[in-house]
């Protein structure tokens, strides 16, 4: 078993990524609360996590490659832990009660944001706990 790169850690990392991606989408909905014709989007947390984990579970893993802005630049690549996460987005195209065609429900968005922030904090707390467990073992249980 690897100490740091085990399944729990990878799942938590991915969950943090998905939660921050979801926050981006919710923040965008809130920013566009007064934009005529804007349709609210959401990130399906479970499907996104499953998809991202499937991508990361491969032995080699999908490589994230750096974009060369000049011809002479050396190619860089690394594990797909940073950058754009492929998330499953849904767009609410349903009927809106507003005349301007905007489908953002601000109460729903604020509730989703609170839920998502709590989930993010939970995952961060779990990563923290995992590290303290490792620390505890490394210091032979003395602390």
């Amino acid at each position: 078993m690897k100490i740091l790169d085990d399944r729990t850690m990878r799942t938590l990392e991915t969950a943090l990524d998905v939660a921050s991606a979801r926050h981006q989408v919710i923040a965008n909905n809130i920013a566009n609360v007064n934009t005529p014709g804007f349709k609210a989007a959401d990130v399906d947390f479970v499907s996104s996590l499953e998809q991202a984990m499937a991508g990361r579970a491969e032995p080699t893993g999908p490589k994230l490659t750096g974009r060369a802005t000049r011809v002479g630049h050396l190619p860089i690549s690394g594990p797909a832990s940073a950058g754009q996460l492929p998330v499953v987005q849904t767009v609410d195209e349903g009927a809106s009660m507003r005349v301007d065609g905007n489908s953002v429900d601000i109460d729903l968005e604020m509730a989703k944001m609170a839920e998502n922030a709590t989930m993010y904090n939970t995952f961060a707390q779990l990563v923290s706990s995992k590290f303290s467990l490792l620390k505890y073992v490394i210091s032979e249980g003395r602390r």
Binding site: Q24, I30, N32, N34, F38, G83, I106, A114
Partner: protein, 131 residues
Amino acid sequence: MSVISTFGTSASGMAAERLRLDTISSNLANINTTRTPEGGPYRRLMAVMESAPDGRGVHVARIVQDESPPLLVHNPGHPDADAEGNVAMPNVNPVLEMVDMISATRAYEANVAAFNAAKAMAAKALEIGKA
């Protein structure tokens, strides 16, 4: 994609709502203005909101004038009155402006809440490994 990048999204919402609030205060300040550089009474300004590409927030595409006709008020003593004694007053409806103002203020607050949530998330992520 990190939590930090969502600061920009919320900030764009705040900036757009503030600009909308600016047009509203301009409308209210000029509610009795009968002379403008373009001639004629002041015309109500409106901010046109447009969502930014790639789900990165919002921006004010442009500020347009309300082309509805000016309100004619009978006031023969006014220096800008026409031959029939009517003065063309700005097409600003104070009730509409107040409602828009509340809407802009609340939307601004919602963006602040989203910003603070992102800030709390980032702070929590920074705590990883501390305890």
